[in-house]
């Protein structure tokens, strides 16, 4: 693990960068930066669930939608500036996750993944029928008149920045704690984890709820930036696609992986839709081909390959064994022979 001083210096640099950026970048770049950071947060949340708790979700867009709708509706009912009711988003998303975990956690692997997707489709269908939520055409932010638009983009950027840095810092702390170790053992082999006393269900549950909460607030911020929410956009399975591809390509089960993934994601998008002039569909094709290739060739993602080549350990949460592995094994084999 990197030293405390290194971490502290990096944190200061990042915070300064986030704080100062709105004064340096133009609005277009600021929006892009906000989008980057929000997607990074979502990817980290998907990574928490898949890379650490071993659950792949094809329906995480439902939490993005719940968070965003919760924000829009609460802000509208209470007639408060949406920024002040932001906490509603993660809370609602977390509550939904806590409830849905009960039936869903009976399922494993593909069953869980697709059941999440079905759940998202059900909620999507109900939302489209609901007058309260604006039906198929969606809702504008009714309290947009309370927003100071001079500071809107900077504030969105800062909020996204706080969320992202906070998320990564929080995940780092979490994964280096005993909870994190338990979680990683659950991912690797839950039977073995149970036999050493790790509460598998509890660990998975916490990871699931946290990842839902993170997506909830990121989704809320994302749609807040558009000042409009509609079901087709909110429940779009492409949210899960983006999160998944970013994590898979970047490096699943590592904290640095999604960061690399987001860089590749946006780099690819801006290159393909900009200078190359291709439409959005081809960009997704390119992303998909890249993800499939990575899964076949380097299933742990690009970051672990890079890391081993360069020998850099940024946010590594792996423990090292107190004794070299070879000696441990030798003692074990001597103990069991005869």
């Amino acid at each position: 693990m990197p030293s405390r001083i290194t971490l502290a210096i990096w944190s200061v640099i990042l915070i300064a960068a986030v704080a100062g950026a709105p004064f340096v970048l133009n609005e277009g770049f600021l929006r892009l930066g906000t989008e980057c950071m929000l997607l990074l947060t979502m990817a980290q949340m998907w990574n928490l669930l898949a890379g650490y708790a071993g659950l792949v979700s094809f329906g995480h867009q439902v939490f993005i939608a719940f968070g965003a709708y919760a924000l829009f509706l609460t802000s509208g009912w209470l007639e408060i500036n949406p920024v002040w009711v932001l906490p509603v988003a993660p809370l609602v998303a977390a509550a939904v996750a806590a409830i849905i975990a009960f039936p869903l956690f009976r399922l494993r692997d593909a069953y869980f993944s697709i059941a999440m997707w079905v759940f998202a489709e059900i909620i999507s269908a109900f939302t489209m029928k609901s007058q309260l939520a604006g039906g198929t055409s969606g809702l504008p932010l009714s309290t947009s008149r309370l927003i100071d638009f001079d500071w809107f983009e900077p504030i969105m950027f800062w909020l996204a920045g706080i969320l992202t840095i906070g998320t990564i810092a929080g995940l780092y702390k979490l994964m280096t704690s005993s909870f994190g170790l338990g979680l990683m053992s659950v991912r690797d082999n839950d039977l073995a984890a149970m036999s050493v006393g790790v509460d598998v269900r509890h660990n998975r549950f916490v990871a699931f709820v946290l990842s839902a909460a993170g997506c909830g607030v990121a989704g809320a911020l994302s749609f807040l930036g558009n000042l409009y929410i509609a079901p087709l956009a909110a429940f779009d399975v492409n949210w899960s696609v983006y999160m998944m591809f970013i994590v898979i390509i970047g490096g699943i089960g590592t904290l640095e992986g999604p960061i690399l993934g987001v860089i590749i994601f946006f780099g690819l998008r801006e290159t393909m839709t900009g200078p190359l002039g291709l439409s959005g569909g081809w960009y997704l094709v390119g992303l998909g081909v890249l993800a499939v290739t990575v899964m076949m060739v380097a299933p742990r993602g690009i970051w672990p390959v890079l890391r081993d080549r360069i020998g850099v350990r940024l946010l590594d949460v792996h423990r090292t064994s107190p004794r070299p592995v070879a000696t441990v094994l030798q003692k074990v084999s001597e103990g069991t022979a005869g």
């Binding site: 094994l329 084999s333 069991t336 022979a337 005869g338």
Partner: protein, 232 residues
């Protein structure tokens, strides 16, 4: 020339080495016992012989053919057949279908379904049952039968008495006499050392992945074997 000739075989599990520098021969029609404690490398060795364990180096020749790097699908066609540890029958297939899987590599020879049922009458009565409905002993017979259907020249038997009542083991070994009388060479990996010694002409003992003893089964002193087995 030996039917099976293994020279300097090393077998690995990832970074761990399981078998070191092993030399092993079996002559046509011979029965050879391979004994050793749990984890000594016996099953690992058999799996490498048939091509299931691919992390190996060294030379292996069967019937004059170099099988050092041959994949499992091809090895069986040469007549080097294994009865796996734990029987490992196909659970979705009936006894009869399991036996038919054995004849898939279409080697020439005299074994037919009827001959297997003659050897193991209990199987004949249960030909349409599934492995889950059979006792351990019957499953073992089915596994051996499946191997016999390939008309093996060399039969590798991995712990066929494991988990079975002595009466059942007795039954199975009696049918073995039949197999050997056909001229099939056999390698017996056995926990039951006495029985292995009684049934075979030569013996190898493995200790922590190395051959600690080899020689004729007749006239072997118990202390020699104990020493080779436990390594003290």
């Amino acid at each position: 020339m030996a039917l099976l000739d293994v020279n300097g075989l090393q077998i690995f599990y990832g970074d761990l080495q399981a078998v070191f520098d092993m030399n092993f021969t079996v002559a046509d029609g011979e029965t050879v016992a391979l004994v050793g404690a749990n984890g000594a490398g016996k099953s690992t060795f058999l799996k490498a012989l048939v091509g299931l364990n691919e992390e190996r180096s060294g030379r292996m020749h069967f019937d004059g053919i170099d099988i050092s790097h041959m994949p499992a699908e091809q090895v069986s066609r040469l007549g080097l057949i294994m009865v796996p540890e734990g029987r490992l029958l196909f659970d979705s297939l009936t006894v009869e279908e399991n036996l038919l899987m054995g004849s898939l590599n279409r080697r020439s020879g005299s074994c037919t379904l009827q001959r297997v049922f003659d050897l193991f009458p209990m199987l004949g009565e249960r030909r349409r049952m599934y492995p889950g409905q059979l006792s351990g002993g019957q499953q073992q017979m089915a596994a051996i039968g499946r191997a016999l259907m390939s008309n093996p020249r060399l039969l590798l038997c991995d712990e066929i008495s494991l988990g079975l009542a002595p009466v059942v083991v007795e039954q199975i070994y009696r049918s073995f006499a039949n197999i050997r009388s056909e001229g099939t060479a056999v390698v017996l990996v056995e926990q039951d050392v006495k029985r292995a010694l009684a049934t075979s002409e030569r013996i190898y003992c493995l200790l922590k992945g190395r051959v600690s003893l080899t020689g004729p089964a007749q006239g072997l002193q118990p202390e020699q074997l104990t020493h080779a087995y436990f390594g003290n």
